[in-house]
Amino acid sequence: MTEENIFHFSGERAWCPGCGDYSILSSVEKALVNLRKKPHEVLIVSGIGQAAKLPHYINTNGFDGLHGRALPAAFGAKVANHKLMVLVTSGDGDIYGEGGNHFIHAIRRNIDITLIVHNNQVYGLTKGQASPTSDLGMVTKTQPDGVVTIPFNPLTMAITLDAVFVARSFSKEIEFTSKLIEEGINTPGFSLIDVLQPCVSFNHVNTYKWYSDRVYQLDNSYDPADKSKAYKKSSEWGDKIPIGVIYKNSRRTYLDNFIKPKDLPLIKRKTNIRGIESLINELY
């Protein structure tokens, strides 16, 4: 990083040593520096979970709201002020579990925000229960016989709903992840970057080594515009796990329907009293 990192937060971070969250935070900072953004131009929204603490550890605007509800809050903020760059950083439990319904509808709306999911396949904050992306058979205190519910595949779901940008990364690959985040931000509409991330305290299956042995970067021969290939790629899991842009598409963003880029943001608009008088006159 040649430029100064103006996004750096100097306070304490309440994450376990070795947590993948640190690397994802670095990737976010790198992407913002590379995009030459200023801290006040950026809003990072999160829900609840270890990953959701991220907005506290970076020098931007933040909204640390409720478990599962980051996407609706981010939608509202973007609608209120479309000049803000809005990112969501939260975990797999938050986005795919508690907030699963909002995940579906946020993609449908195609609001121009970038969602970075810290996917460690386990619940960290509540100490090690299965998450919606835990692999079958994973034994935890609340799944003592192993997980029996099939894992949620966020990528396949996002492709089905025609998300405009669907990518996967691995937290250890900081540079690669930051490039995907940049690309997601630069793509108008709803971008999903699912970042695989080890949980050093609670996930003893999907470790650094487990992921490192399996992930491979997609090369130029792969065409993310091909939806049927993207489906296939999105469900590749096991011995080989692809990382990179899985699917790309383009369609109108939510706000394209209501606001022109040069329009005043909602927060700057005023209601004139004449308008109110006209509403009252309609009642006669």
């Binding site: 933040g62 909204f63 809050a73 509202g76 319904n101 009252i280």
Partner: protein, 570 residues
Amino acid sequence: MPIDFNITIAGSAGQGLQTIANILLKVLARSGYHLFSSQDYMSRIRGGHNFTNIRLSDKPIYSTTVSPQLLVALDQQSVDVHYKHLADPAIIIHDSDTIKVKKSKKIQDVAIPLAKLSRESGSSAYVNSAAVGALFALLRLDLNDLITFLETRFIKKSPEQIKGNINAATKGFTYTSENYTNIKINIDKARKKNRMLINGAESISIGMIAGGIRFISAYPMTPSTGIFTYITGKARKFGIISEQAEDEIAACNMVLGASAAGARTAVTTSGGGLSLMCEGISLAGAAEIPIVIANMQRPGPATGFPTRTAQEDLDLVLNIGHGEFPRFIFAPGTAEEAFYTSIHAMNLAEKYQVPVFILGDQHLIDSCITLDKLNPNKVKYKNYMVKNSDLKKPYFRYKNTKSGVSPLAYYGQDKVTFIVDSHIHTEDGHISEDMVVARKLTEKRFRKINGMKKEFYGPQYYGLKNAKTIFVSWGSTYGAVRETIDSLLEKKKSVAMIHYNKIWPFPVEESIQLLKSGKDICVVENNYQAQFNRLLKRETNIDTGEPVLRYDGRPFNVQYIIEKFEKRQK
């Protein structure tokens, strides 16, 4: 004799009752009558039994009554249901071929071949227009006003349909004029004064727009949907964005995100949806995010009576959201009060950065009243966001101030950054586990109450000074209670009423002052547990008498209150 005339228009869903009612209301309002109209409808789109009551008078009226002097019955069921409630004398307008009316001394039977007249006009779909023509003839209203109305209001219909409707209306009018010359209805021609006609949904919506709403999100739920629909219809014109959320949880959190970013916002819902917003409202309390929640009550629990009225959510809004935080609760009594209250609500949410509830109900939302005017200058939009010139850096979103209110900036304002947070947090919004931080933060939030107590809408006293019997209303029971007072005052009783619009923070001192003369205090409310009565006793330590309650999904009327009140005296 003062005019007080009641019309009931009844039939099944899909027969065009609302069209008849709307035309009649509009024309009567333009003729200078004071009107009150309430709706009784079922949760279905076709069939069933629905009716609208229209009461007209030459003086302002505030409630509905039970005994119509004129019934327009569009099906047999309508006659069967309403027959026993009719006034003496009463008129029934109905189709002569398909609907039978039992002969009685008190009934004047106006049998008109409505279906036949409709078919002669080109379709069987114009029965309601033929009926409205008959109504106009009996009420001695001008046929030309009706025709003009049909021409201008039916613009979405084809020219053929408009012509058909006008023909049917004219035939209904002519037939009635020729065959029922003997029927005299005792409503004098009111002075030609154009009054506006407004329902609670419109008044809350226009109030919110005047209060500067920029973003609204909701999930449709009866009886609140009218507000969401109205504001959405005006969104483009007023630079508002409206989004129908996937559920009420999303609606609430969208609005909180927008509000944190600096937009004025509101959600509209009813009890079931409000229950889903519980955690979001707690977030608004914790993160001090302005939000207006218009909760329009219907009977519960769970799905309850979807299209009926109730005041069962008072305890819920007093307590909704885990943890402790200050809030405002308003319960306007009339459409007029709802308009001004809604502007205040939008201002106060931002001024104190707290959730503000507007607690209405189906009766307030769907009832139409006439007003001389609404003054959009009476309560003004006021911006409570911090000005750039007053924005101190570094900016602390949760600065611990004397008033408890921290300067409110929007993200990126004058290049500041800040975090809005749901935890116990420091003044700069960062998560804290410190006990001193926790204590100070809680105390800061609750210091706002001092200012909030001084805000608008203390209890209003109406009736005899130092009255022995004091009735208490809150929200939409205002109208029926007010007319009860008028009726009892005519009988020289020592009565008065206190109406509560602002319910929280509870106006303790004012209440004690106003209630002290009362030997008997009677709270009137639409629920079983007498929730307001309990609150009043708890906050003032004043003993109240047995409350008058109703929990069958229907609004109060004067007869009901007096009957229950007299029983209770014995």
